[in-house]
Every structure is written in structure tokens, then in C-alpha cells.
């Protein structure tokens, strides 16, 4: 970002300074500059003012092409096998499913430090945008559609994640804690989650789907197979359900 910023400062700062300088030097009351009222063209200046922006944008364009591909959020991160996480946006909370670990959580996302994370993201409600600012960029969460994001934490710590896309009354409080922890701590966290009495099923999903703000953290020790994919797919059917709150997990 700062490369692009500095490159543009090369043009922006002179423009601001020249504007102020010309305004002062050629002021009608007491300005000392020459006065050429009919001067309105100069091939050298014309070529320069078209040329400089073209060259600059040309440089930026190649840079954008490279960076957009290098930092594509869909691109798997190098390193060990990623931890797969499936995120579902609800009103106004996040459900995280760890399909390989067969657990799920609400509003708490834990992961081992240094481990690549591979997210599949969708929404059960309005459009949301999933983001953990300390780790990287955001990706929309949309009902009936699946988006992807790859992140990795390089340090141990607690970060805030949130929905960035306005989605209704509880939007302001739609945050969650992202906990980057050592492998040992993560294993302990995992066994803690597995001791939970709650299971993610039709009833508990209908329960957490009810709109609520500042929802407490919840743990589910089991998850039905393909839960995420079925939540994406059920919107593609033709059933006309208008109240998402009582919408049963139809399987």
C-alpha cells in the first residue's frame, strides 16, 4: 500500500504546492508573475500532463496485476495442511464449524498459531462481510452462495473479528473473538469444546438462528455431516419461507 501511496505523492504534493504557488504569484493584487492572457497551448506541457499519469498508472497497473494474483484470498497459503473452518453469518452472530474436528462454536474462533486457515463462508440472512482486520481482508457472506478466504496468524493473541457489511439492528455488536493459540492450548480448547452437552442439530440451529445481539459464546460438541453445504444448498430450492428465524434445518 505504501509503495502506491508514495508513488502518487510524487504527483499530488507538487500539484498542491503549485496550485498555492501559482495562486500567490499570479494574484491580481500585487502578483509579480508575467501575464499572458492568450497563452492556451503548449505541446510540451500537454504531452507531459498526459504522459506522467499514463506512465504512473502503467507502473501501478503491473503492480496491481501482480499483487491481486499474489494476494488472492482464494489462493491456499503455503505450508502445512490447512485447518478447514466453515463460517455462517446469522442475525447477529457467527457460527463456526470445524468439519474435520466435528465441532462448532458461536462467536469464538480458535486456531493454532502459524497454521494456515481455509474458510468457506456463507450467510443464512442478509449479506454480511467476514473480516478479522488483524489478519487480512474481508469477503462477503451471501445466502445460497459460498465464498472462500485463506488466513494465517503469525503471533499468539486475541483479535477481534466482525461483520463489516451493515445487516440490521444488531450490526454494531456483531463481533467475535479470534484466538490465536499454541498447539497445546488449542488441543486443550478443543477437548473443552468436545465436553459440551450441546450438539448442533435442527433444534439448536433454530435456536441460535433467532435474531439476538451480543450473543454469548457457545460450543457444540458434534456437527451433522455436510451441515455447511446443506445450508448453502437449501436456498436453491423453490420453497418460499419468509421467516428465517423459524426456518428449520431441512435435511
Amino acid at each position: 500500500m505504501w509503495q502506491a501511496f508514495n508513488l502518487m505523492l510524487l504527483v499530488v504534493v507538487p500539484v498542491i504546492l503549485l496550485t498555492l504557488f501559482f495562486a500567490w504569484r499570479y494574484r491580481a493584487a500585487g502578483g509579480k508573475g508575467a501575464y499572458r492572457p492568450d497563452w492556451d497551448r503548449s505541446p510540451i506541457i500537454e504531452v507531459t500532463v498526459w504522459g506522467i499519469p499514463i506512465v504512473m498508472i502503467g507502473i501501478l497497473a503491473t503492480w496491481v496485476w501482480d499483487k491481486t494474483h499474489a494476494l488472492d484470498p482464494y489462493k491456499p497459503l503455503p505450508g502445512s495442511e490447512p485447518l478447514r473452518i466453515e463460517a455462517i453469518a446469522l442475525d447477529w452472530k457467527w457460527l463456526f464449524i470445524y468439519p474435520d474436528l466435528n465441532i462448532a462454536t458461536v462467536n469464538e474462533l480458535a486456531f493454532p498459531v502459524g497454521k494456515p486457515l481455509s474458510f468457506r463462508i456463507t450467510s443464512e440472512v442478509a449479506m454480511n462481510s467476514f473480516m478479522i482486520p488483524a489478519l487480512g481482508g474481508q469477503i462477503y457472506a451471501m445466502a445460497g452462495m459460498e465464498t472462500q478466504l485463506n488466513l494465517q496468524a503469525d503471533e499468539i493473541g486475541t483479535m477481534q473479528g466482525r461483520n463489516m457489511q451493515f445487516s440490521g439492528d444488531g450490526f454494531a455488536g456483531q463481533t467475535f473473538e479470534a484466538l490465536s493459540m499454541s498447539q497445546d492450548d488449542f488441543d486443550a480448547w478443543l477437548s473443552n469444546v468436545r465436553q459440551s452437552n450441546s450438539h448442533l442439530d435442527t433444534a439448536s440451529y433454530a435456536d441460535i438462528s433467532k435474531p439476538s445481539t451480543d450473543a454469548p459464546v457457545r460450543y457444540f460438541s458434534t456437527v451433522p455431516p455436510d451441515f455447511f453445504s446443506k445450508r448453502v444448498a437449501h436456498f436453491m430450492g423453490m420453497e418460499h419461507e419468509h421467516n428465517p428465524n423459524v426456518k428449520a434445518a431441512d435435511q
Partner: protein, 653 residues
């Protein structure tokens, strides 16, 4: 969904009155008081007849232009009240509720954006186009004067619906972009989103007709010798803007109509289930929405071009470059809409291409800034208020351009999208870019319209308040965005944000002073109009044709339509001392007659909109019937013009 609707009043009931919060209730009272106060004032002054014949039924482009600008200034105040309320809320809502409940805060950010774009900026631009373009090209009126009045009245009807929503019912909570599925009936079942849809739908039809009107006017009504490459820059930018309107506004009409069909008739264009797809809306909306930005800013660029040449007492530098740059921007504006949703999960190739396309627009825009800079070079610069706004624009706009290029880089956009960085960016384009341009135009052409100048001191004060207020209000938002603060946040728990939000609130207060200064300027100038009177019709030593006639101009504009033989023809004529030659005209001079078509269509639009919002279907059909009857009735009117008898031969310089 209409099961609770009664035949007579639809879903309108007593619960529609704004007793749910004291803030909303006071807003409704102020709106009501304003409306009633206006009616009482006109009655008390006994001016109903004069208002009706002189203004409301007038089809004179100058009168219509002034009415547009009055509407824009009123809505500017209304939209600003929303803005400062949001700033106050965020300044105090660290770890607590603030004074606005979420639902009210959401209505406010939705109405702020809707008003500022559709009912402040658009009417302001259309008003300036209306007043100035026929004068600049040597025309006696626009191509379709009655259509012009209808356009105004449909815009007025849209704005009226907006204002009514403050008193009866609630406004949308879905933001000015109305993204589904949130804006669908599943998540927002009330009337709010319907108010939003119908107010922009009704005014959007008017805007589309304005676009058609001005393309035809500029292409067909120019004075002899006014070749395209001799047209003043404001006319050029008005032409490009009008062409953009014709191509872009149908996309808005279609997307909002489809959303209305989803909401009202239970269709599934943009719903989550039933085969709908929300991204179709995003694409359609921004195919209008991105060109819309240029529809607004190109005429502002035109105003800056006129102002910088006039107040530098110098020919505009690089006229062909400026024209080509305008045209290039107009074409490119249709190629970048996807940059509004880089984060939808498209592949790197798609995002990179749209990112680069966006940055390419910086090239012609940069060229324009340089051309204005070199217009000032070796000039004689007079610091009248319009020029102050122009210099302020040049300094601030390049900062907004820079943040725009940063946002256009997809990897950066992933982090800054939906944050206050984005909010700061587009306000950086719209306040110093669009609004400073329109205010410069307002102060520049005011003496043409009213025959006396606006007070300089209050004008300069207004500029400085706007300039410093803008910096204080929006520079903190850039920083907050980089710190990860989302837009549209009613409360927050991050203590680092609050100091910056308090600075932003102070900035909003300074902008309030800027608006008060505008009001003071108008008040003081009207009071001192005798001292500020301009007898010459050319108070700034202008260069273009509008300065060649008395101020205010006669209803037929030009006693003799001039023959133009160069760019800045009026300036050349003044230098040489030889008046512009008069064109030969074969038909007698006539002006279009007043018409009730405008008010009829306005009433029709209002009935259709209000009826559709509240499911009062008889009212909506009555509105439709009024519109059809008016069109049929109009086709029977035989005599549409009055001949004007006056002695020709007066010189035009």
C-alpha cells in the same frame, strides 16, 4: 402481504405517526412547520397567483433552473441535519447507546445518502444546467420546455415523498444503496424501503427526461457558428453528463423496479431463496451508480473550468485536452462498476482488470487538474468566492483521487472496503469535487440570474468554514478506516476511535457554520441588493455568451441570436469592440406558454408513489389516470407559444 391492508387507506394507520422517538417527532414537527410556514407566508403576502403563473406553471428554463436550485439548497440543509446527527451519535456512543436507537440511526444514514445524491446534488446540477446551458450556446430555450417542467416536477415529487416519510411512517434502514436481501420484504417489511424505492423511481424518470432534453438542446439549438469545439467547457460537461444520464438511469429504474416487484408482488429477483440472486442487484445498481458519480462531477469540472479561466483573466489552457478528457471519463465510467464489490469473491483476473480500469480514469482526471493549474499560470488571479472554492477544490480533490486509486487496488480494497476510509474517500470526491463546484457555480452565476452580486465576505467565510470543516470531518475518517472501523456503526467498543470521532464532529460543526454563512450571504446580499447591483450584465469580465445579455436576462434570452466565430466569442467581441453579429431568423420571436403539465405530473407522481408505498391502490391508479389524462389533454392544446413583440436591433454586447 396485503392481508392487513384496508381498501381505503392501505396499510396506513395511526401507528404511522412518529411518536416512537422524540428525535423523530421533532424532525417531523420541523418538516411540518416548514411546509405550513411556507403556505402561510405565501397566503399572507397574497402571492399565490404570482407564484402559480410566474413559477409553478412556468416552462422558462431559467425559472425552472432556479426552482431546482432552491429545492437543492433546502434538501442540503435537510441532508446536513442527518449528517451532524450521525456525527454526534458516533462522537458519544463509545461503549454506550448514544442518543439514537439503532433503527433511527439506520434511517438517518439511509436518508442522508439518498437526499444528498438524489435530492441535493442532482437538482443542484440540473438547476445549473437549466439556467446556464441555453445561455451559453445562444439558445432561446431548451429543446422541450414542457418536458423540462415535467422533469422538475417529478424530481420535486420524489423529494416530497422523502419529506413525507419523515412525518408519515418511517424511511428505509437499508442505506442509500438499498442492498438486498436486507432491503427485501423478508428483513425490512415496513414502508421504509418502499419510500426509498418510489422517491428515487419517480425522480429518476424526471432525470432521464432531463438527460434527453439537454442532449437534444445542446446538439440542435446552438447559435450559428457555435461549433462543438467552440462550446464552453460547462456545456461540454453538461452534454457528457446528459449522455451518461440517458444510458445509466434506465439501469437504476430497472433495478429499483425489480426490487419493488420483489417487495410488493412477492417476486424473486433478488431474494435469498426462490431462485433470486442478490449480486444481480449489485451489478445493476452500480452500472447506474458508478456513472452517476461522473454525472454529478463532470458539470462541476465544467464550472471549475469556467471559473478558473474567468478569474485568471486568461484563456482556458488545453481546451481540446479538457474536452477529450471529459469524453474519455464519460466512456470509462461504464467500465468500472465492479470495483464497488471486489469482495464478492470474484477471481483475481476479474478484480485486477476492474482495478486497473478504475485507475485508468485517474489519467484524464489528472490531465484536467494540470490544465486548470496551467490556466492559472501567468494569469491575473482574482480571489472572488467562486475562485476560492476552485483553488480549495484543486488542493483537496487530488487527495481524494489518491485515496480512490488506493481503493481501486483489490488487495487494499479487501481491508478498506466497508470502512470509514471508503466513506472519507467518496465524501472527498463529493464535497470538494461536486459540492464546491456547484457552490462556485451558484456564486458565479447568481448575479446573472438576479442582477445583483452575492456578498463577498460571507462567501469567503463560507468557503473557509467548508474547507477547514471538511478537513476536520473527513481526515479522521481516513485514519479510522485504516484502523478497521466499519461504516454505519451505531455504537462501538474501541476507545482509540472516540477522540478521532470527536474531531470529526467538530468538523461537522464547522461545516454547519459554512452553511449558516451561505444563508447569511444570501440574506445580507438581498438586503444590500441596491449596493450590490450589477448594471452591466457582466460583473466578472466573463468570456462566454451568458454574460453578453442583461442580468437578469429577458424571458427570450437573446434579443438577437449572435453569430459565433470563435471560442470565448463574447470575450473576443469585447476586446475588438465589435459587437457579435446578429443571426438572421425567419420566424417571429416567440416564447412557450405556461403549462399546467408540470404540476399535474408532479401530483400524479406523488399519488403513484404514496399509493404504492402504503398499498393505497386507488390512489396509485388515480395518479396514473391523472398522468394519462394530462398527456391526452396536452395533445389537444393548439397554441403553445406566445409571440413577443419588441423592437429588434439592440446590440448584444
Amino acid at each position: 402481504m396485503t392481508e392487513n391492508a384496508s381498501l381505503l387507506l392501505g396499510r396506513l394507520g395511526l401507528d404511522a405517526l412518529p411518536f416512537y422517538s422524540w428525535v423523530a417527532f421533532s424532525g417531523a414537527l420541523v418538516t411540518l412547520a416548514g411546509g405550513v410556514g411556507f403556505l402561510v407566508l405565501v397566503t399572507w403576502l397574497g402571492q399565490w397567483r404570482a407564484l402559480w403563473t410566474g413559477w409553478l406553471t412556468s416552462v422558462d428554463h431559467k425559472r425552472i433552473g432556479i426552482m431546482y436550485i432552491v429545492l437543492a439548497l433546502v434538501m442540503l440543509v435537510r441532508g446536513f441535519v442527518d449528517a451532524i446527527m450521525m456525527r454526534l451519535q458516533q462522537a458519544m456512543s463509545y461503549n454506550r447507546e448514544g442518543y439514537l436507537p439503532p433503527e433511527h440511526f439506520e434511517q438517518i444514514f439511509s436518508s442522508h445518502g439518498t437526499i444528498m445524491i438524489f435530492f441535493m446534488a442532482m437538482p443542484f446540477m440540473t438547476g445549473l444546467l437549466n439556467y446556464i446551458i441555453p445561455l451559453q450556446i445562444g439558445a432561446r430555450d431548451v429543446a422541450f420546455p414542457v418536458l423540462n417542467a415535467i422533469s422538475f416536477w417529478l424530481t420535486f415529487a420524489g423529494a416530497g415523498l422523502m419529506l413525507i416519510s419523515l412525518v408519515i411512517g418511517k424511511f428505509s434502514t437499508a442505506g442509500w444503496t438499498g442492498y438486498p436481501p436486507y432491503s427485501g420484504v423478508e428483513f425490512t417489511p415496513g414502508v421504509g424501503v418502499d419510500y426509498w424505492i418510489w422517491s428515487i423511481l419517480v425522480s429518476g424518470v424526471g432525470t432521464t427526461m432531463t438527460g434527453i432534453n439537454f442532449v437534444v438542446t445542446i446538439l440542435r439549438k446552438r447559435a450559428p457558428g457555435m461549433l462543438l469545439m467552440r462550446m464552453p467547457l460547462f456545456t461540454w460537461t453538461g452534454l457528457c453528463s446528459s449522455i451518461l444520464i440517458i444510458f445509466a438511469f434506465p439501469a437504476l429504474t430497472v433495478s429499483t423496479t425489480m426490487l419493488a416487484l420483489d417487495r410488493t408482488l412477492g417476486m424473486h429477483f433478488f431474494t435469498n431463496d426462490g431462485g433470486g440472486n442478490v449480486m444481480n442487484y449489485m451489478n445493476l445498481f452500480w452500472i447506474w451508480g458508478h456513472p452517476e458519480v461522473y454525472i454529478l462531477i463532470l458539470p462541476a469540472f465544467g464550472i471549475f473550468s469556467e471559473v478558473v479561466a474567468t478569474f485568471s483573466s486568461k484563456r482556458l489552457f488545453g481546451y481540446p485536452s479538457l474536452v477529450y478528457a471529459t469524453a474519455v471519463i464519460a466512456v470509462l465510467s461504464f467500465t468500472v462498476w465492479l470495483h464497488h464489490f471486489f469482495t464478492m469473491g470474484a477471481g483475481a483476473n476479474v478484480n485486477a482488470i476492474f482495478g486497473i480500469a478504475t485507475m485508468v480514469i485517474a489519467v484524464p482526471t489528472g490531465v484536467k487538474v494540470f490544465d486548470w493549474l496551467f490556466t492559472m499560470f501567468r494569469g491575473r488571479i482574482r480571489f472572488e468566492p467562486p475562485m476560492l472554492f476552485t483553488i480549495g477544490f484543486m488542493c483537496l480533490f487530488v487527495i481524494g483521487g489518491m485515496s480512490g486509486v488506493l481503493l481501486a487496488i483489490p488487495p487494499i480494497n479487501y481491508s478498506t472496503h466497508n470502512t470509514t476510509f471508503l466513506v472519507a474517500h467518496f465524501h472527498n470526491m463529493i464535497i470538494p469535487g461536486v459540492l464546491f463546484g456547484y457552490l462556485a457555480g451558484y456564486m458565479y452565476w447568481f448575479p446573472k440570474a438576479f442582477g445583483f452580486q452575492l456578498d463577498r465576505v460571507w462567501g469567503a467565510r463560507s468557503f473557509w468554514f467548508w474547507m477547514i470543516g471538511f478537513l476536520l470531518a473527513f481526515m479522521p475518517l481516513y485514519a479510522l478506516g485504516l484502523m478497521g472501523m466499519p461504516r454505519r456503526l451505531e455504537t462501538y467498543g474501541n476507545p482509540e476511535w472516540q477522540p478521532l470521532l470527536i474531531v470529526a464532529f467538530v468538523g461537522a460543526c464547522l461545516i454547519l457554520m459554512g452553511i449558516i454563512s451561505l444563508v447569511m450571504q444570501l440574506w445580507v446580499s438581498v438586503k444590500n441588493r441596491k449596493a450590490l447591483v450589477d448594471q452591466t450584465g457582466d460583473p466578472w469580465d466573463g468570456r462566454t455568451l451568458e454574460w453578453s445579455m442583461p442580468s437578469p436576462p429577458p424571458i427570450w434570452n437573446f434579443d438577437n441570436v449572435p453569430v459565433v466565430s470563435s471560442r470565448d466569442a463574447f470575450h473576443e467581441a469585447k476586446l475588438s469592440g465589435i459587437p457579435l453579429p446578429a443571426a438572421e431568423e425567419d420566424s417571429p420571436l416567440s416564447v412557450p406558454k405556461n403549462s399546467v403539465m408540470g404540476p399535474c405530473m408532479g401530483v400524479a407522481g406523488m399519488c403513484i408513489g404514496f399509493g404504492a408505498v402504503w398499498y393505497i391502490w386507488w390512489l396509485a391508479f388515480a395518479g396514473l389516470a391523472i398522468a394519462v389524462a394530462a398527456i391526452i389533454g396536452r395533445s389537444f392544446v393548439q397554441s403553445t407559444e406566445n409571440d413577443v413583440s419588441f423592437k429588434r436591433g439592440a446590440t448584444t454586447t
